[in-house]
Each structure stands twice: as structure tokens, then as C-alpha cells.
């Protein structure tokens, strides 16, 4: 019914936009990372032709990521923070998503709305809320000392890894729960009923039916929050400010903050993106597979 060129034609503006403002910029990062620096104004000079790329800055940056190098510790720390935060997000998020999708009954709509609510609350507002609560005379300390769970007020904002992790969990968990909920919601009840009919206890039904079926959702949601978390630099700055809790994003921030080596900032960015490509590729492959299952529209 429609002309053959209609759909590609529709896709053209968006595709062109993404090429110009997504692909080309990424290539610009590569060109800067493999470029040089103008020493007078300390500006990066990108080299566009891959055959002429200057690998000096990249090898220098890579060497800093090796054990013993300056970036080794912060890279490990970043990975640890992300993994621990992810684990906590799953630990808290999975039961919540599970409950809402399977059991909520009449309150389901209310809970769904509450679930979606944090999306509309700015990340920074949520962090601001916690910075206020974690202040030395904030509600958290007051509550904990009042209930004698804590002997004396604790300095939450004094550069503690636990606070950074708490902030990361708090900040990113909504982005995990919702896809997880969507995946769990899609699981057909009949599978579970069949399992119960065959004599499985609730626990076994969960472990052998629900959990495997939700695996794709878990992995998808996990990838969805770990990718931005790896690049996070503002959360440690907001709730800590100490170098001892800095993440790799803070280093990128530093080298783009003026000075003679913006190429190192670009190189770290490229390496970060390469590291995350594995996760990115997995995620996109899963989505691709899922959308292709419902391809015929």
C-alpha cells in the first residue's frame, strides 16, 4: 500500500541526526585521543586519519591502568562500587518487582505509580535530599541516636565509601526495578501453576521457573544501570568529595578541566567506552532479539 521509500524516508531524519551527533562525536573522541596537543593554548588537536594516529597518549594512558599505575586503584574501586551497588539494587529491587508483579492485587496500580514516581524526580534532587538527611544534625543521625542504634552522630558525608554506595543504590535503583517488573509481569502464570501442580514447593517453583524466566530482565536491568554508573563522577562529588572515594569519571573530569593533557581525558573516555562495549553489545543484542520476536507489525 505504501511506497517503498516511505519508511526509509521516515527514518532518514532521525538516522542522519544520530550519525551527525552521535557517531561523529564519538569519532571525534577517538581523533582527539589519538591526536596531539597544541602547547600554546593547551588545546587538543584531533587527527582524523587513522593511518596518522598518534598512539603516544593512548599507550601512556593504558600504562596507567596497569597494576601499579596511577589509574589502577581508581579503576578497581570503580568496579567494586558498581558491583556492590548492583548487588544491593538487585537484593532490594527484585523482591519489590516480584511482589508488585505477582501479588499486589488491588494495590497494584498504586504501587506502580509509586514505582514510576522516582523517574520524575530529578537525580540531583534525590541526592540533595540525602545530603540534607545525612548532615551531622540531619534526620538520619537524629533518628539513629534517638533509637540508640548509634552511640553518637556519625559523619556520613566525610568521605565514606558506604555513603557513596548508598547514594549510587538510591539513585539508580528505580532504573532497575521498572524493567525488572516489566519482565516479571510478562511471565505467564500458567508456568507457575504447572510447576505447583507438579508438586513443587513455592520456593522451588520460584527457583526453577520464575528466576530463570526473569533472567533476561535481570540482566537487562543490570546492564541498564551499570553502564551509567561506571561513568558517574557527580555522585562521589556530592556525597563525599574525598579522593579516597573517587571514581574513574572524576579522572576524565580532571583532564578536561584545563591543563596540558586533554588527550589523556579523551583516552580514558575511549577506554571506558571500550570496556563497556561488552556490556553494551550484550544489552543491544538482547533487545534486538526481543524486538525481532515481535517483528511482524
Amino acid at each position: 500500500m505504501y511506497r517503498r521509500w516511505l519508511w526509509p524516508g521516515f527514518a532518514l531524519p532521525g538516522t542522519l541526526w544520530l550519525i551527525l551527533l552521535f557517531l561523529v562525536p564519538f569519532y571525534a573522541v577517538l581523533a582527539v585521543a589519538f591526536g596531539t596537543v597544541d602547547p600554546i593554548l593547551q588545546q587538543p588537536v584531533p587527527i582524523w586519519n587513522p593511518l596518522e594516529w598518534n598512539v603516544g597518549w593512548m599507550t601512556e594512558t593504558l600504562s596507567r591502568f596497569a597494576p601499579g599505575g596511577t589509574f589502577y586503584g581508581v579503576a578497581i574501586r570503580t568496579i567494586v562500587y558498581v558491583v556492590v551497588s548492583l548487588a544491593l539494587c538487585l537484593l532490594i529491587g527484585y523482591p519489590v518487582a516480584y511482589y508488585i508483579s505477582r501479588h499486589a492485587g488491588r494495590t497494584k496500580n498504586v504501587l506502580l505509580i509509586l514505582l514510576i514516581l522516582p523517574f520524575w524526580i530529578s537525580y540531583l534532587m534525590r541526592m540533595l535530599a540525602w545530603v540534607n538527611l545525612l548532615a551531622p544534625d540531619g534526620y538520619v543521625n537524629r533518628f539513629l541516636t534517638f533509637t540508640h542504634l548509634l552511640g553518637e552522630p556519625r559523619d556520613w558525608l566525610g568521605g565514606a565509601p558506604s555513603t557513596v554506595i548508598l547514594a549510587l543504590v538510591y539513585g539508580y535503583i528505580p532504573y532497575l526495578i521498572l524493567p525488572l517488573y516489566a519482565a516479571l509481569d510478562r511471565i505467564d502464570r500458567s508456568h507457575l501453576e504447572a510447576a505447583r501442580d507438579l508438586g513443587a514447593s513455592p520456593l522451588r517453583a520460584f527457583l526453577h521457573v520464575t528466576l530463570p524466566l526473569s533472567k533476561a530482565g535481570i540482566l537487562g536491568g543490570a546492564v541498564l544501570i551499570t553502564l551509567p554508573m561506571f561513568g558517574d563522577y557527580y555522585t562521589p562529588n556530592l556525597v563525599s568529595g574525598a579522593p579516597a572515594t573517587s571514581m574513574i569519571g572524576n579522572q576524565i573530569d580532571l583532564y578536561f578541566h584545563g591543563g596540558p593533557q586533554p588527550t589523556i581525558g579523551a583516552a580514558i573516555t575511549v577506554l571506558l567506552a571500550a570496556f563497556l562495549t561488552v556490556l553494551m553489545a550484550y544489552y543491544m543484542w538482547t533487545i534486538h532479539r526481543a524486538t525481532h520476536e515481535v517483528r511482524d507489525v
Partner: protein, 430 residues
């Protein structure tokens, strides 16, 4: 690099623009009238680039030091004397945010019938980039001495004709009239001055810091103030502080061993007091969220004037800076940009800025950072109640400047890299 006290609510760690100086680079490599610098626009083989040969700064200009005076070459002739000021249209001042009292700008505009616009940059490096890339075309711009070489080599600022700026010799401290980094004031006039020292809350920090044989040691003995101490988030300031603590006064050193040792010393602070970095001490000290900070001299004054909450007595704000020869001092300047369409008026603006009344009002009514003006001295400020007596040492005098003072200045490209890498190492806490 200064943060303005009235920056609401405190801007730090802003985005750095890395605008490709495509135009500027072409201008520089084509028109660089100074010999010798191999601008590394060709692809390099293995190692990061550096300048050729002797210790030269950007553009091949010699590196100025308090005891090594440098006269900057004139890349064009200054304008002639005796011309009439331009009027009509707009006049743009390019500066840190909230760093110049708008009322004074308005009065200048009314006097010469121009509309004065104020454009802000986040920090000097991004300001220079925007200027170089053509994103802004200001008439006058604030500048720091350690970046002066860059902008002169890049022909981004115009030489001055001092006949239009009599206030320079009349009102400004003699030490800064023909400063070591710009002998005969070819390109700059001074704007504000400050030093780096220690600010603390005496209601929490009980030590007698001033009485210590080496006050900088307090950071290494600050176990009791864990999580409440901070250094400036500046590569030069932090490492310089560690050097000074060990008695090394060359804060422009490029000796890798010294820099490495300084960084190693700084790293001890993680375990001692879980040190933080930031530039917000003018707010966090009066708020009480921080107790012991490396601080610029304008910070306690700004804290006292603007940020002290009601109920907190001013006496809890304390400041120390080292005596001359051991304290890093710095001053900001103003230049005329090459992009100006009103060169005469620009000169007159610089003169206006150095007028005693204008400079005083800018400082006391708005800025919080003192201008190096003869009439403004600590005694009179204390008497007028601008500054409490116990913070008198946060005011500088002309004696703080001279050939034996310490000032962070331009380094060679290699030196810059060493310092930045050192700071990156400290920040990574690896």
C-alpha cells in the same frame, strides 16, 4: 585560580571547554613571531609532546619569575595617545562570574554612553578557549599572570598605551606597577590579589596553628578532624603546599623527584584525615561542614561578610598565611582583547577600574577580593569594620609582593604535565 565569594551558590569544577583553536592555531603557527617552539600539530611518534630545548613557556616566551623579570614583546603597536573614546553600542567585560560590581559597570556605561555587558567564564582556561575560538568577542578580559604568555603568544590581547591609564602609576602598589611577568605593563593592569594559607574553625580545631613551627603540618596531624578537612582542588596549590611544608620554596619546580615526593606526602592524608578536595571553603567553613581548609585569603573575608550564619560568632573564623617568601601570593589582571572594537574606551575602562573609589567600592561592596591599591590597607579596613581584627592577616600589603615573593607562574609544557599528573595521582587515590 580564584573563586568568587559571591558566586551563588558556589560554582566549582565547571566544565572546561576544549574548543579547538582551529582559527587560533592557524593564527599562532602562521603568525608566531617568537622563535623556536615546535608546535606539536604534527603527529608525534611515541611520547607526549614537549617544547624544544631550554625552559621556555608557550610561544617560546621566557618564563617569568619574581626574581626573573620578563618584558613581553609587542606584537603590534599600541594605539596612539590623545584619541577620543568611542561611544554608543555595547562594551563587553569578560570575567569570572560575579567578579565585578554591576553598579560600577553601569556607571561607566552611563559616563561614556555605552551599554556595558558582562559575560562570564567558568575559569580562566575555558575563558581563553572561548576567546581563541571566536565564541566571544569581548573588549576587556580578566587574566592571570600564569596564562599571560599564552594569550600574548596567541595575539589574543592588545598592547597597552599607558597614557590612557594614569591611575596605574598613581594608585597601584609600586611592586605591581611594572610587575616581573609584564615589565613596563605592556599588556596588563592588576585587578585583585590574594594569598594561599589555612582557614579553620577555632571552635572545633583547638590547635594553635599559628604557633606551630610548620603550620602546614596541621593537616598531617588532623586525625581528630577526619572528614572535615579539605585542600583546594587545584593541581598547583595542593602540590605547592606539600613542597612548602617541607621547606621547598620553588613552587614552580619541574623536578620530578620533588613533585613525586610532594604527591607521596599528600597521599598520607587519606589515612590521616580522609582529606577532601574542593573550592567551596568560603561557604563550608562558615557553615561548619568543614573545619580545616587550605584557603585563599579572600575566603575568610567573604565568609565573614556574606556567609556567616546568624548565631555563629565571627571569632570562630581563623586564618593563617606564611610570611613573605614562604607564602604563595597571586594577583589577577585585566587585559584588552584583540577583538575589541573600542580600544580607547577599553583603556579608559582599565583606568576607571583602578580609580580609588571604584576599586574600593568593588571590593567592599561586592567583590570581597582586595585590589592592590595604595589607599586600601589593612589598618583602615579594620577601622571601618570591613574586616574583623583577627582576620587582619587575610589582607595583603604591597610588602607581600617583590622579587623574593612566591608566585605560581607559567611552566614549560613538560612541567605542566608533571604537575597535572601528580595531582591526578593524588586524586585517584590508587
Amino acid at each position: 585560580m580564584m573563586r568568587h565569594p559571591k558566586e551563588r551558590p558556589g560554582r566549582f569544577d565547571r566544565r572546561e571547554l576544549l574548543l579547538g583553536a582551529v582559527g587560533a592555531a592557524a593564527g599562532i603557527s602562521g603568525g608566531s613571531f617568537l622563535a623556536g617552539c615546535s608546535s606539536s600539530t604534527e603527529p608525534e611518534g611515541s611520547s607526549p609532546t614537549g617544547t624544544t630545548g631550554e625552559a621556555l613557556g608557550p610561544g617560546g616566551l621566557p618564563l617569568a619569575r619574581p626574581d626573573k623579570r620578563v618584558k613581553l614583546p609587542l606584537w603590534e603597536d599600541p594605539i596612539e595617545s590623545g584619541l577620543e573614546p568611542e561611544s554608543g553600542g555595547t562594551f563587553t567585560v569578560f570575567n569570572y562570574p560575579y567578579y565585578f560590581y554591576k553598579k560600577l559597570l553601569r556607571e561607566f556605561g552611563e559616563k561614556y554612553d555605552v551599554e556595558v555587558r558582562y559575560t562570564a567564564f567558568d575559569n580562566i582556561a575555558s575563558g581563553i578557549q572561548r576567546l581563541a575560538s571566536g565564541a566571544v568577542e569581548p573588549d576587556v578580559m580578566e587574566m592571570t599572570p600564569d596564562n599571560l604568555d599564552r594569550v600574548v603568544a596567541g595575539k589574543l590581547v592588545k598592547p597597552l598605551n599607558l597614557d590612557y591609564i594614569p591611575n596605574l602609576k598613581k594608585n597601584v602598589w609600586p611592586e605591581l606597577v611594572s610587575p616581573f611577568y609584564d615589565v613596563d605593563s605592556h599588556y596588563t593592569v592588576p585587578y585583585t590579589c590574594y594569598a594561599t594559607g589555612i582557614g579553620w574553625r577555632s571552635d572545633h580545631v583547638k590547635e594553635d596553628i599559628r604557633g606551630m613551627s610548620q603550620p602546614w603540618d596541621i593537616f598531617w596531624e588532623a586525625q581528630a578532624y577526619k572528614g572535615k578537612t579539605a585542600l583546594l582542588s587545584e593541581s598547583r596549590e595542593t602540590i605547592a603546599m606539600a613542597l612548602l611544608r617541607k621547606g621547598i620554596t620553588d613552587i614552580n619546580t619541574e623536578d620530578p623527584k620533588l613533585i613525586d615526593q610532594a604527591v607521596a606526602d599528600l597521599k598520607e592524608l587519606y589515612d590521616v584525615c580522609n582529606i577532601k578536595v574542593g573550592d567551596s571553603q568560603f561557604q563550608t567553613l562558615p557553615e561548619g561542614t568543614s573545619w580545616l581548609n587550605q584557603a585563599w585569603s579572600g575566603d575568610p573575608i567573604a565568609a565573614y561578610i556574606y556567609y556567616l550564619p546568624k548565631g555563629t560568632p565571627a571569632s570562630v573564623l581563623q586564618y593563617w598565611k606564611a610570611p613573605k617568601g614562604k607564602v604563595p601570593v597571586q594577583n589577577d589582571n585585566f587585559c584588552i582583547c584583540s577583538t575589541t572594537k573600542k580600544p580607547v574606551l577599553s583603556h579608559l575602562f582599565l583606568n576607571y577600574m583602578l580609580d580609588n573609589g571604584v576599586a574600593h567600592s568593588n571590593f567592599v561592596d561586592f567583590n570581597g577580593y582586595q585590589p592592590p591599591i595604595n589607599e586600601i590597607d589593612p589598618g583602615s579596613l579594620v577601622k571601618k569594620g570591613v574586616v574583623p581584627r583577627h582576620l587582619e592577616n587575610a589582607i595583603l600589603t604591597n610588602n607581600d609582593f617583590g622579587p623574593d615573593s612566591l608566585q605560581e607562574m607559567t611552566l614549560t609544557s613538560k612541567g605542566d604535565q608533571l604537575w597535572q599528573d601528580g595531582y591526578s595521582d593524588f586524586l585517584a587515590a590508587g
